[in-house]
């Protein structure tokens, strides 16, 4: 590792984290699943035996009345409810004493017949007989007639049933492991940045000053580790030189003022001029402390905060449904959609004011101001009694969310140099997406185990921890930056730029409609319609969205930069997202919905970066007049119209088409709008567009 390139150190740390976190969880899971398998097998046997004995008793009774076994009537009706109510039982069959199949439900005759014909069930003396039959465990019990054993009843259990149940457990464990690994990466990134990379960067800056003879600055680091010790020695060297200079300065002042020989005073003045020419010292009497603010300062708090918000993503519609109270004039689905839409509305409404507040009051203050309503909102959402108070507390949370996210964006904009702003915004996007993966995944698993309310309390606790970190990390206000905020009317001029308007209406808004209407609202409701799906499954499936975005975003950004074909990528992204939403039309099963989620993730991963990257070209004049940050902020604000519309539109479709149909209808809307954008994108043309300026 080299001290000016800490990337290798961080990569080795990640490797170590992987070695330390994944194998123990794997070993623990492997051992535990083995124990679970041993624990479940006897209980499964008991269950099968109970079913077999009961069925045998019923058939014994019939055979006891003298009805020949092969002439029993209505055996399908007899077996069917048993098979339906007990999914672990794969088939039921009855054979005669020669092993010939008389009745069979749940499996192909050809699969079992050869085995039954070859088996000698009498060998056990008419006892229960257990055998492995291909993928099944076959339990046979004798049916006793007046003349002895009249045949056998067979209960077949899928050998993979227990494996399937264990797989469910393993999937939960995998989610926990993935989330732990991502959290570990965030924490290690924070620890290394805070303790090594950040301080060494400041040292590097001070070194560069000293190399030019400038001793006016020292480092601010005061940790008690090796870096702290090094920096204290480093600072001591600067202060040593500074002290010597101060003493010399005082001595020279004294000589110049008091010496009777003016030539001496002049000679001393020359020495002073020479020293000051060669070296520079602080005017304040001691070296000034140099601090550096970085985008990474807020990464961990932001991660924790977004984690807190995302934790309810997979179960929010169910929680609202549990608190349902009729609202006059609104359908049940519309009431469920309302808190999600109101949350988005409040974010959209508060964001501009939050941005202004961050610019005027400082990011740290606004972040902490935002945490207060957010934490209250999370906590009170846990205590919500009806949907009315949930709407209230989600609105309060949204105010906090808008303040916090705007504070973070403002902080990043303030601390990053213009040319590194995109890279710094990557810190924001990275933290948000990683938190989204973690929050969505662990939220469902947590809610399934601890309940919705407890999960909201956990969210509140995470928000408090984020606040404590911000309090510690953003000790003083960051340096003032360009806080020029345009008037609202000036921003509306943007809409006269047809390319910008088309991007907002036909790309950004439909993208958000799909996100909030389909992903936030419809996906949980649709998935949980399947009785075999639980909340953990919903969360796991929903994780595919942020994972797809995380994987594709950097590639799309690179592709957009390399090819310059940004409008095309946005168009393709929109078409993929809209097309994906139509997939459940072919089959409404979970796999198809999962594929639709993945395609939505790919769509957003493909189009999000190019959408932003297009702005400097599309709005060349406006960016120059209003500032690029403000134009981007306006785009973000305008697209939130889609965020609000999404859940309401989906809820309006549900009574007409059902849950799956509503998703498809939403897909038609999104695909239609994206198709319009795709057509318009051909007219966008390459390079910066300066027509607006020329016409003015």
């Amino acid at each position: 590792m080299t001290l000016d390139h800490t990337r290798p150190l961080f990569i080795r740390l990640l490797l170590l984290a992987f070695i330390v976190l994944v194998p123990p969880v794997g070993l623990l899971s492997y051992g535990a699943l083995g124990e679970f398998s041993l624990g479940l097998a006897p209980e499964m046997d008991k269950k099968v035996e109970t079913v077999g004995q009961d069925l045998a008793a019923s058939l014994d009774r019939a055979v006891g009345y003298g009805i020949p076994l092969d002439q029993l009537y209505g055996m399908d009706d007899f077996f069917m409810p048993v098979l339906t109510a007990n999914p672990e039982i794969h088939y039921l069959s009855v054979t005669d004493p020669n092993g010939r199949i008389l009745f069979l439900n749940g499996a192909a005759k050809s699969l079992l017949a050869p085995f039954y014909a070859a088996a000698d069930f009498d060998a056990d003396g008419g006892q229960t007989h257990r055998s492995i039959l291909g993928p099944f465990v076959d339990l046979s019990l004798p049916l006793r007639g007046k003349a002895g054993i009249a045949g056998q009843i067979h209960v077949g259990v899928d050998q993979n049933y227990i494996r399937g149940r264990l797989l469910d457990i393993a999937q939960d464990i995998a989610v926990v492991n993935l989330v732990s690994l991502l959290v570990a990466i965030e924490i290690l990134l924070f620890v290394v940045t805070f303790n090594v990379i950040g301080p060494m960067r400041i040292v590097g800056m001070v070194i560069d000053k000293v190399r030019r003879g400038d001793f006016s600055h020292a480092c601010s680091v005061d940790s008690d580790d090796e870096v702290g010790r090094f920096v204290s020695g480093f600072n001591a060297a600067i202060r040593h030189a500074d002290d010597l200079f101060r003493r010399l300065e005082a001595y020279m002042d004294e000589v110049k003022a008091a010496h009777f020989d003016r030539t001496v005073a002049e000679r001393v003045g020359e020495i002073e001029a020479r020293v000051r020419f060669l070296f520079r010292f602080s005017h304040t009497g001691r070296p000034e402390v140099m601090r550096e603010y970085q985008a990474t300062d807020i990464r961990l708090p932001l991660f924790l905060f977004v984690f807190a918000e995302e934790i309810s993503r997979s179960f929010m519609p169910f929680y609202i449904r549990d608190l349902y109270a009729p609202i006059p004039g609104l359908s049940t689905d519309m009431v469920i959609a309302l808190p999600i839409a109101v949350f988005m509305l409040f974010i959209a409404a508060v964001s501009p004011a939050a941005a202004m507040a961050a610019a005027s009051k400082g990011s740290r203050r606004v972040f902490l101001m935002g945490l207060f309503p957010a934490t209250i909102g999370f906590f009170m959402s846990a205590l919500a009694y009806t949907v009315y108070d949930l709407i209230l507390w989600r609105s309060v949370t949204a105010i906090g969310y808008a303040l916090v996210t705007m504070a973070c964006q403002s902080y990043i904009a303030q601390v990053s140099q213009r040319q590194k702003r995109a890279q710094s915004l990557g810190v924001y996007v990275g933290a948000v997406l990683t938190a989204s993966v973690c929050g969505t995944g662990i939220g469902g698993v947590l809610a399934e185990r601890t309940g919705y309310r407890a999960t909201f309390v956990i969210a509140a606790v995470l928000a408090v921890i984020a606040g404590l970190l911000i309090h510690r990390l953003m000790g003083t206000a960051p340096p003032a930056a360009d806080t020029r905020l345009p008037r609202k009317r000036a921003l509306l001029v943007l809409l006269r730029n047809w390319r910008f308007s088309a991007l907002v209406v036909f790309a950004a808004i439909p993208s958000k409609i799909a996100l909030t209407g389909f992903f936030f609202f419809l996906v949980p409701l649709t998935l949980l319609q399947d009785v075999s799906t639980d909340l953990g499954d919903v969360a796991r499936i929903m994780m595919f969205y942020p994972i797809s975005v995380v994987l594709l975003s950097p590639l799309a950004a690179r592709l957009a930069d390399r090819t310059g074909w940004k409008a095309g990528l946005v168009a393709i992204g929109g078409l993929i997202g809209g097309g994906g939403l139509l997939l459940p039309a072919f089959s409404g099963d979970i796999n198809m919905i999962t594929l639709a989620i993945i395609m939505l993730g790919l769509s957003h991963g493909l189009s999000a970066s190019p959408q932003l990257a297009m702005i400097p070209d599309l709005c060349w004049t406006e960016c120059r007049n209003l500032g690029q940050t403000n134009v981007l902020a306006f785009l973000r604000l305008a697209e939130r119209i889609g965020s609000v519309i999404g859940p309401l539109l989906a809820a309006a479709f549900i009574p007409l088409y059902g849950y799956t149909g509503a998703g498809i209808a939403l897909g038609v809307v999104v695909l239609g709008m994206s198709a319009v954008f795709a057509l318009l994108s051909f007219a966008y043309g390459p390079g910066p567009h300066i027509e607006a300026e020329l016409t003015e």
């Binding site: 590792m1 080299t2 001290l3 000016d4 390139h5 150190l9 170590l16 984290a17 330390v20 976190l21 194998p23 123990p24 969880v25 070993l27 623990l28 899971s29 535990a32 624990g39 479940l40 079913v51 004995q53 409810p81 048993v82 007990n86 672990e88 469910d168 457990i169 939960d172 464990i173 926990v176 732990s180 959290v183 570990a184 290690l188 620890v191 303790n195 560069d208 000293v210 190399r211 003879g213 008690d224 580790d225 090796e226 870096v227 010790r229 090094f230 204290s232 020695g233 480093f234 001591a236 060297a237 040593h240 030189a241 010597l244 001595y251 010496h259 001496v264 020495i271 020479r274 070296f279």
Partner: protein
Amino acid sequence: MEEPRVLDQTGQSSLTSAPSGLPSPRPVRWSLARKVSLALVSILLCTLLLTGFFAYYKFESVYSSLVQSRYSFVVFTIKKRVEDSLNLGLPLHQIRQAQEILEREKLRDPQILSIEVYDSQGEVLFDTDRGAIGSMVPAPQVDALHGGTAVAFGASDEDALIVGLPLSNTLGKVEGGVVLRYPIAYIEHGIGGLLFQLAEKIALQLGIFSVIAVAGLYFLFGRVGHKLGAMQRTLGEVIATGGQAETGPGADQFEIRFAEFIAKSHEAVEHIRDATAEVGRLDRLQ
């Protein structure tokens, strides 16, 4: 000619006392390796606990549902037999063989605490515990009858889990219900040992992988600390006794810049000392 000092030279002695005008180096109370170890081992502990927690409770859920489904089946068969009689037109309270059916099922499985049949008002008509006949079942069990005739309902009381099904006649009218009680202790016995085994495994994994984590981190950060310590020593020695810092082979840009920093600092110190001496000499001129 002043002796050059190589930046990555080592030696414990100069770590503890810098022979310079600079103050003694600040002691390392919390080394980088210790800090990161604490973070990583904490994450490992949380991960293992969380994994164990979820695995255990998920297993409990799977195990309980398997046991419940077995008893649901028993209840289902009782329901079928009682409903066969109901379908013959007999009122529920007059199905005498119901008591016999319940007792036979209870005899088959010693884990069953009791089985009872009650009417739609909640009055117990038949019970394996004959003393309970005529008593009233708790209100939730009566309410549960309206949840659907084919849907098993579950409940619990102090030390038992309850699974039940409504009894309905051919017209679909709910006449009453049948419930079976089995002990919570049965579930606890089935999964109880696992908790201890999981705790044991967690402790073992935590121990082994904490050692790996700490060793790995001391190796990684030891080199950082070592390098920084050597650089600091060189700085102190050059400032105090003169000489110049030279970078060894394979030095990175930071070390090269740091060597220049040392040279410049030394140059400044020497220059200021010379200037001070010169001013002193001028001052003494009478």
